[in-house]
Structures are given as structure tokens and as C-alpha cells.
Amino acid sequence: MTLWLEAFNTDFWYAIVGAVLLVLALGAFITSRQLIKKLLAFNIMGSGVFLIMVGLAQYQHGPDSVPQALVLTGIVVAVAATALALVLIRKFVLKGGQP
């Protein structure tokens, strides 16, 4: 326990928040029935991963540009994936599926 308290700083806190978001979003992704909500949960899952990556890499020696650059590309790929998923969902709904 003392180990946790010693290491506890801003970066580590956000890594924990990221882990919580990841777990919650995973559950929501499996249980939700609407496709759009699955997509939102998937996005939040990604954000959780990004927070863990940056937070854990930085909690010992301050801002680190390597994980930040990785996450920057990650954010852009995530929006492209979301847009593509939305194209597919739209097509599915326009063909008569349930959103």
C-alpha cells in the first residue's frame, strides 16, 4: 500500500483512471445492444488505453515524447476507424437494420 502512495502522482492517477475506463467500456461494449453505443464504448476503451500508455510512461520521469507521438497517431487512426464504422452502420441501417 505504501508503494502505491509513494508513486501516486498526476500521471499515475490518470493511468488508473484509464484502467477504470478501459474495464467499464469493455463491459459496456459487450452488453450494449445498439451499434452506435458499441462504437462509443469502443472509442472510450481506446481513450483508456491512451491514458494508460501516457500515464505509465511518464510517472517516473516526466513528459515523454515517444508515447505521446504514438498516442497522437492513435487518436487519428481511432477517428478514421470510427468514421469507417459509421459508414458501415449507416449502410446497414439504410438497408433496414436496427441502429
Binding site: A19, L24, T31, I52, V54, A69, T73, R90
Partner: protein, 347 residues
């Protein structure tokens, strides 16, 4: 300041729970946009201004627009077709199985994450870390901002592949659109007539904001070599400008023309040329000639900005839309063959 971080972290979690729990999709999307804005603040607290810029423009801005537009399409579609018995009862046993599965997955993921966080804490600080490596080599990279150096010099291979991923996404997006268009004819024309005339106030605001957004995009791109900023953030800004223009009924990228195709591929094309050309003189893939790093990085970033902006914009504009409902233009039958011939030159 710790209290602020605690509140912000809890705010993120609460916003996420709000997204998961709300039955209404519109509400979920609005909460998701809120989540994106809180996340942008979080990146600032993590001393990552580049990520904050990208998250504010992309996570909260463009993703939000895409989602809201999709909800609008669904609503229109529902009105067009019929209020079908949408209250389809879910299969109870399947839902129950999904809940159990979710519970197991959550518990195992939580355990795994807690275990790995705990073990990370027990690990001694690494002897040499990436921060010092980047600092030691940044003088040779051609730029003085760490993240740009990593993205376009030290790990440029990743960035090249990432832009290729974006290109694949838009190729699929356009491919799906064309199949839809040929059967449901002319998305661009329909998009035009679907929206009613926008209020004059909106168009004048768009006229004011468009040049400002483009200037800001170029500034962010230029700043990228010395300060937070760069091709991705600038590309996002260009996409946002395009979306705004679309709202003001100025149609950019509404049709898939040769120029648009060129713009979409420009980034990857130039990047590949710069990457391959040193191989002609026997050097490895993706090495910049000494002395030219800064210039080449700026060239690649400029092209990438155009491509990323156009790709994100096209993914929004080319997304499938419902056919126009019959009463709005009763002159032409919606599936008439003549409707297809009058826009044959498009593709």
C-alpha cells in the same frame, strides 16, 4: 492541484458511465463529446499539449459531428420508411449470456490491469529511458520539437504506415458510397436539396471563420517543428473547416473527382517518394540526406496535412445518406433511370 486532477479523473469516469447508461442515443453522443473535452483537459494535465490539440479538434470536434450527422440520418430514415415495430424484444437468454460474459471479461481485465500496474510500481526506474535518448538525438533530427522529431524522423516508419491506414479507410468509405450512389443516385445532389436553405447568419459566420481556420491550420503546421503542433492537428483543423463549409452549403469534396483523389493520396505518395529515394544511392529506407531533414520533414508534413484533412472530410461527406423522400421532389421519381444519366460524368 491534486484536487483538480482527482475531480477531472472522476469527471471522465462519470461522463463515460453516463454514455454507457443512457438509453437515448442523442444523449449518449452529447455525453461522449463532453467526455472528449474533458479528455483534452486531461492531456494538458499530462503535459501533452499536442494531444490536447488533437483531442479537442478530433475527439470532441470531428467525431462529434460524424456521430450527430449519423443520428440525423437515422431520424430522417425512420420518417421516410415507417415507424416499424422497432421495439423488437431482445432475446432474454442471449442478453443474459452477454451480461455474464461482460462480467467475466471486466473482472479479468480489472485484475490483469491492477496486477500489471502494481508490478510496474515495483520495477526500478529504467537505466536509460526514451526521454534522454530523444534529447540526445534531437539535434540531428532537423526539428526541435520532440514529438515531431519522433513522428517524422525517429519513428517515421510508424507514421508512414499510419497514413496508409487512413488511406485504406477512405478507399473503403468511397467504395461503399459509390455502390450506394448508383442505386440510390447522386448523394451530392440529394445532400444539397435535403438541407433547407441555411440561415444567413450561419453562412456569414462560415465566411468569417473559413479563412481564419485555414490560417490557423497553416500556423499549427509551421509551429510543429519548434512547438506543439504539426500535421495531424493541422489536418484536423482543415477537416473542421471543410465540415463548417459544408454546413454553410459551400460544397468541398462533394464529388469524387480526380483532383480529390490526388489530394487524398498526396501525403502517402510524397512520403513514399522521400522514403524510397535514398535507396537509389544505397542508403537504407527512410533516411533523410544530411542537412535536408528540416526541409523534407516540412514538405512531408505539408502534404500530410492536405491528405489528412481531405480524408477526414471525405469520410464525413461521402458517408451514405438516405434517399430524398418523394414529396420533396415529386417531379422526378426517386428511382427513375433519368436521374442516373444526368450525373454520369461524376465518377
Amino acid at each position: 492541484m491534486m484536487w483538480f486532477d482527482l475531480a477531472l479523473g472522476l469527471g471522465l469516469i462519470i461522463a463515460a458511465i453516463g454514455v454507457f447508461r443512457s438509453e437515448d442515443l442523442f444523449r449518449a453522443v452529447v455525453l461522449f463529446v463532453t467526455f472528449g473535452i474533458l479528455l483534452a483537459l486531461t492531456w494538458l494535465r499530462l503535459q501533452a499539449p499536442d494531444l490536447a490539440l488533437a483531442e479537442a479538434a478530433i475527439g470532441a470536434g470531428i467525431t462529434g459531428v460524424l456521430l450527430l450527422d449519423t443520428l440525423g440520418v437515422f431520424r430522417q430514415h425512420e420518417q421516410d420508411i415507417n415507424p416499424r415495430s422497432s421495439s423488437q424484444l431482445p432475446d432474454i437468454s442471449r442478453q443474459w449470456a452477454a451480461n455474464v460474459l461482460a462480467l467475466i471479461a471486466c473482472i479479468s481485465a480489472a485484475g490483469l490491469l491492477a496486477w500489471s500496474l502494481f508490478n510496474t510500481l515495483k520495477m526500478p526506474a529504467p537505466h536509460h529511458n526514451l526521454v534522454t535518448v530523444v534529447e540526445a538525438n534531437i539535434a540531428y533530427s532537423g526539428v526541435s520539437h520532440g514529438i515531431t522529431a519522433v513522428l517524422l524522423n525517429f519513428r517515421s516508419y510508424d507514421t508512414l504506415l499510419e497514413v496508409a491506414v487512413l488511406l485504406v479507410a477512405i478507399v473503403i468509405g468511397i467504395g461503399l458510397r459509390e455502390r450506394v450512389t448508383t442505386s440510390a443516385n447522386a448523394t451530392s445532389d440529394e445532400g444539397q436539396s435535403k438541407l433547407s436553405e441555411p440561415p444567413a447568419l450561419l453562412t456569414s459566420l462560415v465566411r468569417l471563420l473559413l479563412p481564419l481556420l485555414l490560417i490557423t491550420a497553416i500556423f499549427v503546421l509551421w509551429a510543429g517543428s519548434t512547438r506543439p503542433g504539426g500535421a495531424f492537428q493541422a489536418g484536423a483543423l482543415i477537416a473542421a473547416a471543410g465540415v463548417l463549409a459544408r454546413l454553410g452549403q459551400i460544397d468541398i469534396a462533394a464529388r469524387v473527382t480526380t483532383i480529390l483523389r490526388l489530394g487524398l493520396t498526396l501525403g502517402v505518395f510524397i512520403f513514399l517518394i522521400v522514403a524510397v529515394s535514398p535507396m537509389l544511392t544505397g542508403k537504407p529506407f527512410l533516411t533523410y540526406p544530411a542537412g535536408w531533414e528540416g526541409t523534407l520533414i516540412l514538405l512531408i508534413e505539408f502534404m500530410l496535412t492536405i491528405s489528412i484533412g481531405l480524408i477526414l472530410l471525405s469520410l464525413f461527406i461521402q458517408a451514405p445518406r438516405p434517399r430524398i423522400p418523394a414529396p420533396v421532389r415529386n417531379a422526378i421519381p426517386a428511382t427513375g433511370p433519368n436521374a442516373e444519366t444526368n450525373k454520369g460524368g461524376d465518377q
